[in-house]
């Protein structure tokens, strides 16, 4: 299988008022093309920091991060921006849709930034709108959509440049259970039908139970890795069991 993400020995500390607080302590992980991986762990375990380093928003103290063949830690800011528009897709907890643009225009935006030809852009956007069942709201503005619809638009936007890797930060964090389900279905659709590779940071055990693998972080280290081999319900029980251990351990 083609390696899409390769993280090894990643270390990161924050210095506040003269004190050093280690956040990541030698994290290593890998992702293959088409995989859906969830990163879980208690607050402060380093999940979001890991995501921010992988996306190039944050630098690391040491270690290596490769997205495809690109070394994210040793690339200049301009180049990182190019990488973000070319091979990464983002999904945020707050959706981060631009309120002044319609659904269709929001999906256009990453393609415009990546300077895609207009004809390709139109076609790709139409396909994504259909694929996520949101073609009927394509002319609406984010303010007119429900939380679940907004997140589906955000996923469609993240997929619009056919990125190697989609990074999702608590994508179900602000949603009710119905909308959360819709979002997870959208992820599964993206993975199965469009071959997308998804790295999702989440607190939501139900959402994580749909992933192929769950990487558990605690105190900045990978403490366990759960691979889904069983039914979803049983997998979720395993995740909850694991989370209990981590909480008690803390």
């Amino acid at each position: 299988m083609e390696k899409i993400l390769s993280v090894s020995g990643l270390q990161k500390s924050y210095v506040t008022k003269g004190n050093t607080y280690p956040v990541l302590r030698g994290v290593s992980m890998e992702m293959d093309r088409g995989e859906f991986v969830a990163v879980m762990g208690p607050s402060g375990s380093g999940k979001t920091t890991l995501l921010n380093i992988v996306s190039g928003f944050l630098s690391a103290d040491s270690g290596q991060v490769k997205v495809g063949s690109v070394d994210m830690l040793h690339t200049g800011k301009e180049k990182q921006a190019e990488i973000r528009s070319g091979i990464l897709g983002f999904i945020f907890q707050d959706f981060m849709l631009i309120d002044g643009l319609t659904v269709q225009e929001n999906i256009f935006l990453p393609q415009i930034i990546a300077k895609k030809p207009a004809a390709d852009m139109e076609g790709k956007t139409r396909d994504l709108l259909c694929a996520f069942g949101i073609e009927d709201i394509s002319g609406k503005y984010p303010g007119e959509l429900s939380g679940g619809q907004k997140q589906r638009v955000a996923i469609a936007r993240a997929l619009s440049n056919e990125p190697l890797l989609i990074l999702a930060d608590e994508p179900t964090g602000n949603l009710d259970s119905k909308s959360s389900n819709a979002v997870i279905e959208a992820f599964l659709f993206a993975k199965e039908q469009l071959g997308a590779t998804v790295l999702m940071v989440t607190h939501d055990a139900i959402a994580a139970s749909h992933a192929d693998r769950v990487i558990a972080l605690s105190d900045g280290m990978v403490v366990r890795e759960l691979v889904r081999q069983k039914e979803q319900r049983q997998f979720m029980n395993d995740i909850l069991e694991f989370l209990k251990i981590v909480e008690v351990g803390e």
């Binding site: 979001t48 921010n52 996306s55 928003f57 944050l58 800011k77 301009e78 921006a81 190019e82 990488i83 973000r84 528009s85 070319g86 990464l88 983002f90 945020f92 907890q93 707050d94 981060m96 849709l97 631009i98 309120d99 002044g100 643009l101 225009e105 256009f108 935006l109 990453p110 415009i112 930034i113 990546a114 207009a118 852009m121 930060d169």
Partner: protein
Amino acid sequence: MTLNEITRKLIRQNKSRYILFGLSICFAVAMAGAYGVLLFSRVITDVLMTDGSTYLISLGMYGITMIGIVVFLFYANAIYIQLQMREIGVYLSLGLPSKSVGKIQNRQLDITFLIGGAAGLVLAVPFSFGIWSLLSLFISYTDGAFRVGEKGLLIAGGLWILAWVILRIRNAVHIARLDVIRILRSSSECEELKAAHPLLGIIGLTAVPLGLILFNITAVIYPLKNFSVLFLGVSLIGMYILTAQITSMGSIVKRFFPNAYRKSILFYNLVRQKGNQYTLSLFVSSLLITLTVFSICFNGSIFLELYYAIKEEPYDYAVLAGASGEKLDENRIRSFAEESGISLSEWHSLDMLLLGREHQYMDASRNEWSPEMVVNVSDFNALSGMNLSVPDDGYSYFQDSDDSMFQTCSEDRGLFYNPCIKEDFTLQRIELVSKESVLNETAKINSFAVVSDNTFYRISDTLDSSYKMTYYLFHGSNTENSSEFQKGLLAEIAAINKGEIFVSWQDQVIKDKMGSYEDIYIPYDGNELYAARWWEFYPYAKQTELDVQMEAGAVYLILIFFIAIISFVSATMIMGLKIAGTIMQDTESYKRAMYLGLKENDLKKIIRKQIGLIYFFPVICGCVTASFMINRFMEASSATRILEITLVAIGLSLIVFLIQLILFFFLQKKLVLSTSGIIYESR
């Protein structure tokens, strides 16, 4: 679809934020321009002498208000950028390089600045005209034609361009250094003040009055006079320290009132976190409010003092009559008085000569020639009731004043110049004489050299008539007819002078001593106010002088009111924008507190307290400082109406406070409701 089309659409969609920012720019440029257009207009410079202290004060106020306007624009820009932040964050996260994002933002800033600033410049002139029309209601001595002070437009244009360039650079640097994660996660900023300590706050609190007291003390001690302004600096620094430390007030409350601290722990911590952010806005708005109250009172006091000085003058009329041509003598003056139904009494006359005299200093390079009036000792003794004796080779110098210190630094040898025989001659200075109420202090002639009768007539014989005058001082009945009598005299004097004002009349006596000299004549018509204020031959009538001075005072005060209003509005807008920014920024903290069980009413209280702090600290600090400052300034300038002016300052402070209180209730109601609505409805 292209990025340009997206940007254009976003501008259309978010037009309210561009309009709001554009209006802020328009307001700033229009206000700076309108005041400048008026301040540098000839109609105003005619009223206010351009090198006089009143004019310098109004220039100083203009300068400080410009700083306030720039700070206001900075806050307007901060709010504008905060509203743009979501778009900026999305662009950056989708891989648009920060340089390109900066370019997009700067293009939008350019358009907003261009339209807002140009509209401001265009509006400055009609706005200025509107204010001039209001001022004209108080003016009867000028021709009243509005003239644009181009310098004001240039300054407003300069301010516009300067703010544009600075904000352009600032925004580009800000975007280049942006923490994308913070935007994407909507994190709030935390800028706790470094070196925060309650002791510093106490030092600041003490330094403000202490600096003013020391200014007052040193301003009246001659050798320390030059240093007195440094103590104003101490007050200013004190105000800054106090402002900077106000955000750490929680530490003092925590130490002495732990229960009260615990009750409002969220409020004190939210305030503490914004130490750096609050300092500039609180300091500048405090300074602007101080300026508002102080400038109105200080300038009002100048004219109040003048009003009383004129009222207490010893003579109702003073007329200087030249000896050349058709002479305006006692009989003619009396006949004009009779025509107006005025009977004259206490008649005094002083024969005068116009000579040149060298003013000599310890540093001889600073010596300079100037015109000097000379009278004979008999006339002087008859007028003053004194018994002055002057030898033939000497002179005494008289000034209508209670200040016996005048001219004591002069190293005067008494070198005079006779312009007709073109000869220098020396008279030994005998003494300096000062006495109040001998002459009219506010009239054009209130000091001269006194020589012996022999010397006076000996010099007089060598001078031609253009250097000889008689000065008449007298009382008159029926003050209600004073204006008519004065107008009759003025018409006669204007006719004698062929309808012209000989501006360089006094300087002609020393033209041989000056590097460059030319006779300057201006027509009387169209320069009535100039004549009333500066022409030596303008007949003095106490009643009219009151009107003229009060007219100038009214013009000046309204001008000061205008800049004070700009200053006040700028301060209020700085505070308003800071409040809006703060509440926006604290939404996340409020949400977290809500999850921890904070009730809606308690949240409203916290928001109200924050708004109250930003709103009332500058108002109270500014008003108290200004009232105390005006009191000390009056004391230092030996004013006679200190209590009245201090009471006016306190009254004005109360009005400022009241206006702010009304604005506060309106603003807090709107902000508290909208913020608690956002937080509690988003659950």
